[in-house]
């Protein structure tokens, strides 16, 4: 699943560790999500969306038409 996490993080000048700490996950998890190796759970996707004040579908894209 594609996502804009790395872009959103860069816009705020946050390191992966900074974002991980704000989401209460490991830095490895942030890296895995950014590189598309791991899809976050629904609760984590909600936390990410709330942190960036966006909707989940504004951050994650499964490639399927809406």
């Amino acid at each position: 699943m594609r996502n804009r996490l790395k872009i959103l993080r860069a816009e705020r000048d946050w390191s992966q560790a900074e974002l991980a700490g704000r989401l209460d996950v490991s830095r490895q998890a942030v890296n895995a999500i950014e590189t598309g190796k791991h899809d976050p759970s629904l609760p984590l996707a909600f936390r990410i969306a709330r942190l960036f004040d966006l909707r989940i579908e504004d951050i994650f894209d499964d490639g399927e038409p809406a």
């Binding site: 946050w14 390191s15 560790a17 900074e18 974002l19 991980a20 700490g21 704000r22 989401l23 209460d24 996950v25 490991s26 830095r27 490895q28 998890a29 895995a32 999500i33 190796k37 791991h38 976050p40 759970s41 984590l44």
Partner: protein
């Protein structure tokens, strides 16, 4: 960075650092528990038996120490792994589950394969420690694979 001064951490980085230290403390504690159990088993064994060769009847430990080691093993192989699941996030939990699955499948496949090879005179008779070792090594290899690939 000026030598001797720490860079200012953001609130998220500070949380990440605490999380990392908590996890490292957990790993260190697991290592200490395993190390004490293993060392005590080897150092205080009074018999001529060996876990590796399967002559269990010759293993001898003082009863009180045997109870302590049993408690340590219970902590090391049951309580601490379960507690570890509470420390990690979804991503790390997935990697752990791949490791545990690999260990389980290693035992499930390892015993019948070993038994068949023994029946065909290709291998010595299966023993409990050998099966444990297969499970443990399978678990470690599966976990490392998941850390590499997932």
């Amino acid at each position: 960075m000026i030598l001797g001064t720490k860079p200012q951490l953001g609130p998220g980085e500070s949380n990440s650092e605490k999380r990392r230290l908590r996890y490292m403390g957990y790993i260190a504690f697991c290592g200490i528990v395993g190390g004490i159990g293993g060392f005590a088993t080897g150092f205080f064994d009074q018999g001529d038996g060996s876990l590796l060769t399967g002559d269990w009847e010759l293993l001898r430990l003082p009863p009180a120490l045997a109870l302590v080691i049993a408690a340590l093993m219970l902590a090391g192989f049951l309580v601490l792994p379960l507690y570890g699941f509470r420390l990690v996030d979804d991503y790390q939990r997935e990697q752990s589950l791949v490791g545990y699955t690999g260990g389980f499948l290693g035992v499930m496949a390892g015993f019948p394969v070993w038994a068949a090879l023994h029946a065909g005179a290709f291998a010595p008779a299966p023993n409990a420690f050998g099966i444990f070792a297969i499970g443990f090594v399978s678990m470690c290899v599966s976990y490392l694979y998941s850390r590499w690939r997932l």
